[in-house]
């Protein structure tokens, strides 16, 4: 009886990249404001990563529309109680923040840095929103599992944090940053985020009970348990703790976290639509 929206890979990718964009921006803003000079590189990488990702998000959303030429109709009106209406506005506003922060991150002057940090503190709120509203959007539908999940937004936010931080640490590793460049700190932040994500995921499943069937059993179960829980969360956490500082293992664990973040969005979006 119920109909599914047939949201496909473009929406999965949007949820995934939107999470990284939001997560890397608020990580950058926190590093910028509270991390001191040693976290400066984390902040710059975070800001610069969020800019192209949020642009890509906008393109994915437009391409997914039935009538892409009417994408501006999304900002014809603003409904405070409607996740999609708010979300469309936030993609635009957050995009502006990522642009300004990215530009300011190139200035060596301390005065610009003060301005950038303040802008970061405000933009961070939009980053949190972008990383989580997609979960609330799914739970505000008439469809089973999605509408039963009270913690979908909270889970997407934790995943946005873990993947955003993993992406920053991966870029730092690939660009030859040393632990002194804030690498150790962003890794530590990522470990916290992964632990929070595991806890939220456990609460999410407990609260759902049998309503979680589309992901915990059947066709999507191997991806969920093997791909997200094992490869995307448990293995990277173990690698972080036993690998202790070895750069190669750190990069591997960051890649696994990103894979897990993608699988989370894929499993959630596709499981009740197939």
């Amino acid at each position: 009886m119920l109909k599914t929206p047939e949201w496909g890979m473009m929406i999965v990718l949007y949820f995934f990249f939107g999470g990284i964009a939001g997560g890397s921006y608020f990580t950058a803003a926190i590093a910028d404001n509270f991390g001191g000079p040693r976290a400066a590189r984390v902040a710059r990488v975070g800001y610069l990563l969020s800019l192209p990702l949020v642009a890509l998000c906008g393109l994915l959303l437009i391409a997914d529309l039935g009538t892409p030429s009417r994408f501006l109709n999304m900002v014809r009106t603003l409904k405070f109680w409607d996740p999609m209406s708010l979300g469309a506005w936030v993609v635009g506003v957050f995009g502006l923040f990522t642009f300004v922060s990215s530009v300011l991150s190139f200035s060596p002057s301390e005065e610009t840095a003060v301005l950038r940090r303040r802008i970061g503190l405000v933009g961070m709120l939009f980053g949190f929103f972008l990383a989580s509203y997609t979960g609330v959007l799914l739970s505000a539908t008439a469809l089973p599992f999605w509408s039963d999940a009270r913690l979908m937004g909270a889970l997407f936010l934790a995943s946005g944090a873990s993947t955003g931080m993993a992406a920053i640490s991966l870029i730092l590793a690939l660009t030859g940053a040393s632990p002194a460049d804030g690498m150790a700190k962003v890794k530590q932040a990522d470990r916290y985020s992964m632990i929070i994500e595991l806890v939220v995921l456990a609460l999410f499943l407990i609260a759902l009970g049998s309503a979680a069937r589309p992901i915990i059993s059947g066709h999507f179960a191997p991806l969920f348990w093997g791909g997200l829980v094992a490869i995307g969360l448990v293995v990277p956490l173990v690698l972080e703790f036993v690998g202790h500082g070895r750069a190669a293992l750190g990069a591997v664990s960051a890649v696994l976290v990103l894979v897990g973040g993608f699988i989370l969005r894929y499993v959630v979006v596709m499981s009740i639509q197939s």
């Binding site: 009106t77 944090a161 931080m165």
Partner: protein, 260 residues
């Protein structure tokens, strides 16, 4: 707002002729589709982008007054909910409420995001790939603005579909339930007629001869947007915990100097 208009579909009078389904297609210029086998005379299985009125055929063992198998017929349609999930979900404002209380999709504004499709508790709204927009029953918006009833109600030969002012139809419907109960149809009941009931009442409401689930209707449909506040608060809680974690990790412990 003008006085609320409604359609009352009395399924006890339906003979399954599908005149409503055909009239709807003709008036609204809805194209033909590939028929599909549903195991009964029903065609199609669900609402589509070109089928806004759909006569459902249900075989319900033991549902007739003498305990025999009942052959239940129901001409189904968009319910034009007083609290409409599709309308609340629509980010463009393409879905709007008319002065008569009906819910309509402005085809010139809809951009095909499909959020309304997943927000309808009855699976009514359908995405049309050719137009790139969402489609559903318009309550014959052009007709009601010119003093005519919807095409389906006009075509119905048994007055199973009645069109009129909501309050008058509601009174009529209540009397009809009593009559049917006296005739032995013990499960006769109204669906969506009560404005204090679910979704603020349906402006296309029904008289059913069995419980709603027999007709594949939800017993107690809920507004999808009811969860937004709680879910948002839980997300904010998650943001605070994640933010504190990051703060803890990045906080300068006086080992590198700095402004913070």
């Amino acid at each position: 707002m003008a006085r609320t208009l409604a359609m009352f579909t009395d399924t006890s009078l339906c003979i399954g002729c599908r005149a409503c389904q055909v009239a709807c297609k003709q008036w609204n210029e809805l194209g033909m589709e590939q028929p599909e086998w549903t195991g009964s005379y029903q065609n199609h299985a669900h609402f589509t982008e070109s089928t806004f009125r759909l006569v459902r055929f249900m075989e319900a063992p033991g549902a007739s007054p003498n305990g025999d198998l009942a052959w239940l017929l129901m001409s189904d349609v968009c319910k034009h909910c007083a609290e409409a999930g599709c309308l609340d979900a629509c980010p463009t404002g393409a879905i709007y409420r008319t002065e008569f209380g009906t819910v309509n999709i402005n085809q010139d504004v809809c951009n095909g995001c499909r959020y309304c499709v997943s927000s309808c508790p009855f699976g009514v709204v359908t995405f049309n790939e050719h137009t790139g927009t969402a489609k559903k029953c318009t309550f014959c918006n052009d007709r009601i603005h010119n003093g005519l009833g919807p095409a389906c109600a006009k075509a119905c030969p048994t007055e199973s579909i009645q069109f009129g002012f909501r309050d008058e139809l509601y009174t009529k419907a209540q009397k009809r339930v009593e009559t049917l109960k006296a005739m032995g149809f013990k499960d006769a009941q109204l669906y969506g007629a009560d404005q204090k009931g679910f979704l603020g009442g349906l402006n296309a409401f029904f008289l059913l001869l069995a419980k709603p689930s027999t007709y594949n209707l939800p017993d107690n449909p809920k507004l999808p947007q009811r969860n937004v506040v709680v879910d948002s608060l839980l997300s904010i809680g998650s943001a605070v915990v994640v933010g504190l974690g990051a703060l803890l990790a990045f906080r300068n412990r006086g080992n590198g100097g700095g402004h913070a």
